[in-house]
């Protein structure tokens, strides 16, 4: 599957292929993860030969924060990934074997190369070096940086371990690679908080007009500051001339098969993935344009049953196979976290402020 062009298949080609892959994966996990098997039985799921992608059972992603779901023996676990754990939340623990970790890396390369081109670039990492030091317990941030590092030739960390922007170091780095495209990578919040804000203060601005920024990790922390995607891009362009910015949507529970934002500002599902917004009332798939709960599908997880996950994000399909950027497959936008309406009742009355 890693020989496939990641955005070449239209629905007619992708849907039956993906369904067949999911059938195999579902069977694989059902046979190896007893808790997953009991969940399938509990949901009354039976594998039918004519099942479509949307028919496969999905697990709410929060289950990975509550229990260990694993389809390989403990001694095959090569590393355990954790979500960086938003304040006050339990992080997910995702068990990876070598095969799954390898697939994640391969898929990431195929997807990202479609946007950055096949050549590796000098890379400015908009984070601090210490975030990747603890190899035993990978955080999403550390894993993201290491995963994306393969797209970099020379790598330079833009922040020191006290989160200060190393302006002099960045200027030297840019001078060494003058006239060349440069890859910038970081988490959305870090980019805004520790990079953009400092840049905006510089008397002599940095020139990043040849830069390509790839960022992800969500807008949740920025929502409080009311920064929109559009404003994020406009302010960065103003501060340092950065013109090419790609957001990506992904999660630690499905590392590798990320959804990248194209030149038109749309997130794209690749051949390794799919996205299905669903209605809260009955979990039926939404029509194009209709906001729903995002289900994300990935063909990569083989060491844990995370191939079909119901997120707590809201999003909507913008179209399929006809994005003006030329990529086939579904394209969509993420609208944010699902609104957490206040639940009545006397057993939840003084919820700790978050």
């Amino acid at each position: 599957m890693f020989e496939l062009a990641p955005f070449a298949w239209d629905r007619a080609a992708k849907e039956p292929w993906l369904a067949a892959q999911l059938a195999e994966l579902t069977r694989h996990h059902r046979d190896r993860c007893p808790a997953y098997r009991r969940m399938l039985d509990g949901l009354g799921f039976e594998l039918r030969p004519d099942a479509r992608v949307a028919d496969f059972p999905f697990l709410p992603v929060r289950l990975f924060k509550e229990m260990e779901l694993r389809s390989v023996p403990a001694d095959a676990v090569f590393k355990t990934m954790t979500s960086s754990g938003t304040t006050g939340q339990t992080p997910s623990l995702i068990a990876l074997d070598r095969e799954t970790a390898g697939s994640q890396q391969k898929a990431l390369v195929k997807i990202v190369a479609d946007f950055l081109g096949p050549r590796r670039l000098p890379m400015l990492i908009l984070d601090c070096p210490s975030v990747v030091k603890d190899r035993a317990l990978f955080s999403a941030r550390g894993a993201g940086i290491l995963g994306f590092s393969i797209f970099g030739t020379e790598r330079f960390y833009a922040l020191d371990d006290d989160m200060r922007l190393d302006v002099a170091g960045i200027r030297e780095f840019l001078a060494r690679h003058a006239g060349q495209p440069v890859l910038l990578f970081g988490f959305t919040f870090m980019v805004w908080q520790h990079f953009y804000r400092e840049l905006a203060r510089l008397e002599t601005p940095l020139d990043l007009s040849r830069g390509i920024l790839v960022h992800g990790g969500g807008w949740k922390k920025l929502a409080g500051e009311a920064v929109t995607t559009r404003e994020f891009k406009a302010r960065l362009a103003e501060a340092c001339g950065l013109a090419r910015v790609h957001d990506y949507y992904g999660m630690v529970e499905q590392t590798g098969s990320i959804f990248m934002e194209c030149e038109r500002g749309h997130l794209h599902a690749s051949v390794f993935s799919d996205v299905i917004p669903r209605r809260a009332l009955d979990f039926a798939p939404c029509a194009v344009g209709e906001p729903g709960i995002l289900e994300v599908v990935s063909l990569l997880p083989r060491s844990y049953p995370g191939h079909c996950l119901l997120t707590e994000d809201e999003g909507r399909l913008l179209g399929e196979d006809d994005c003006p950027c030329g990529r086939k497959g579904k394209y969509f936008e993420v609208l944010g976290r699902l609104a957490n309406a206040e639940i009545r009742g006397c057993s939840d009355t003084y919820a700790v402020p978050t």
């Binding site: 949901l43 697990l59 609104a339 009545r344 009742g345 006397c346 700790v352």
Partner: protein, 396 residues
Amino acid sequence: MPFPLDHLEYLVGAAEAIQRMASRPALPPFAPSAVDFLAELSKRLLGDAEARAYPDVIAFGFWCRKASVEEMRRPYGVLKNRLGRGLAFHVAPSNVPVNFAYSLAAGLLAGNANVVRVPSKNFPQVGLICGAIRDVLARVPEIAARICLVKYGHEKAATDALSAACDARIVWGGDDTIRAIRQSPLPPRAVEIAFADRYSFAVADADRYLELDAARVAQDFYNDTYLTDQNACTSPQLVAWRGHAVAAAQARFWTALHARVAGRYALQAVPAVGKRAAACRLAAALGGRLAPAPDNLITRIAVSRPCSELIDFKYHSGFFAECAVAAWDEVLPLCGPRCQTIACIGVAPGEVAASLVPHAPRGVDRIVPVGRTLDFALVWDGHDLIRELSRVVDCM
């Protein structure tokens, strides 16, 4: 007191009044002035055209009318030499609109001055009841000096000050609320009543249920569950069926409930996902099976028997475990210390009590007909509010 209380929002009373409350003499339980105040409040609420739109406000109006209070007083007989403890500080659940009014009434009937933290959310019911209280208090200064209704958020300084000033604290839980409030110390002699997280369930006689009006039972069960997002401590989490025609009764019951819920209850996305997660969790741990349903409004999980582990798999917003039993005493594993209310469908509460009580369950505080789980009583969760919120002058 240096006043962290000055800037709070007072719906009835004011910060200065709280300072004076500490020095007010306590009243005896069921003091005529307190009973008369509640009777006036009842008249005012039952005569209010606007209140008619809120069954919970009307229910409170009925509960506090004179005849009803006299009825509640009767089992207490003569409460000789008994006086209120002094100042009672109530932390009402912030999401159940009318509970604060019952808590206030209990504190008042026990003889106390009361500071009540009312729900932070803007429920119309709270405004209605507070408006009525203000009107009635204008005519009874003796009671006016003993009631203060206040609204504030997560301000620990305010909870600290009120806790330090009170003689009794009443905390309507969740366990997390209780833990948070207990960060604020009480004076050494003060008492506390805390209503913790509880588990409640329903028992149904299938054969007798089939003779009942399905729509009526559905309405009652809806009021017991969906009306509070199935998140009140009294809300049934499971239905245990007994009888010959269980399958037929289940089909009829859930179809009628669905008709009641559809169009009336707005299921949010987060609980929809949460219910699916709860179903997966229960399936993984205890082998539960999700019943096929047209949508996510009612999530039913069939389990083989009522085991004690089920208590840890409760959820809200319309999530029910379900099982069949041959005899009522098979539900005993659910009747541990956390068990509060059993709602009865097609079976008399007395019959269920007769099967359970001889086994001396650690829990079960109430056995009531379906539709009555939220009915407030002065003995609640095993606490006699009148006795616990008052003290006795012992004479030898």
